[in-house]
Amino acid sequence: MKKYHIPEYIAISDTGFLFLPSTGETFTLNQIGKDIFKMLQAGESDENIYEKITSDYDVERGVIERDFSDFILQLKSYSLIKAI
């Protein structure tokens, strides 16, 4: 079970718009991306996120695990997240 840390200075709006104040970079997340990001911000583990997403969306566990892993890699590449 893994948990991630999102720096406090990263803000996400209700529309899924992300702003990184230190570089001025902006990102737009879709609905599922926003849901996952907010769960990460709340300190949820990857296991809890898989469960929540499979119950809210019509998606198989294997698919969400793979997509989640890709999403985490992307967030890391933009310095938006750190593993703890």
Binding site: Y9, F19, P21, G24, E25
Partner: protein, 346 residues
Amino acid sequence: MKIAVTGLNATDNPGPGVPVIRSILDSEEFKGEIIGLIYDSLEPGIYMKDIADRCYLIPYPSSGLDALFNRIVQIHEKEKIDLIIPTLDSELFGFIKIKEKLEEIGIKTFLPTFEQLNYRAKDKLFDFCTLHGIKVPKNILINSMQDMYSIPQKFDYPVVVKGIFYDAYIANSFEEAMSAFNKMRGKWGYPIIVQEYVKGTEFNVVALGDGTGNTTGAVAMRKLYITDKGKGWAGITIDDPVLLDISHKLIKGLRWKSGMELEYMKSAESGEYYLLEINPRFPAWVYLAPAAGQNLPYALVQLAFNKEVPNFTKFKVGTIFVRSSWDLITDISKFEEIAVKGEFKL
């Protein structure tokens, strides 16, 4: 109070005059008039409503300092100017040179000294930064075509070829560097600077130094859109204490007096900031500063009149500017006024 401002050339390579004026006019405290000092009868700022109350043609710096001073005296007899804010790199040397004569006739300025201006010059910046522990790309000065042949031994391509005042080209080969060198030589003369290319993201800071080493204010920005001339056409204020710390250190080291723009590259490899340039005047995007809470041009006006100006300590992160292109319509008679009489009132 009458403030004269130069650099009303709000073109695709914009001068800072119009945003400096907009900033001053935005201050609720300012009660006075703005006099535009222009070099060309088609500078767009002349024709903008609510920018300059009146405009006057002045001679290009190449006409010599006597011609410039005499023209200012002529304008001063009519207008009784209290302060002149020159905003273009190429005219600063001349204005610093006549600063005392201007004071004698009652016109204030708020300019750096020759020494300060020389330290930040593109050909001296490397030594200054090395002395103060600030990272800066390696560079060589080119004073002849022969010097160009020393590039391959000192740098890997690409390199950046820069003019002494303006313009920069990225050259990926010796042939491209020679082509850029020829353009620069014809346009700006020697020396030409060949600089190590640091791959990364560019960040800029607009700042105001009060001349004692203190930073009155500083706002950091990242360009969001860059034109093919390398000009920022949109930008956003950012929060990076490291960037501001380096800027404060520079202003302290230079004891900088006046507005300035600091250009940095954040290395993609190391994440460290490299200082690319110090421009000795406010940039054309300076209006972002008052929009984010630091009216640096108006603070310069206050400093010029020896008023106490508390340092700005914060600004609103996430403030964006987007530049636009807008056709101004005027009549031939207005153009005639400026072209024939050298004076203009909208």
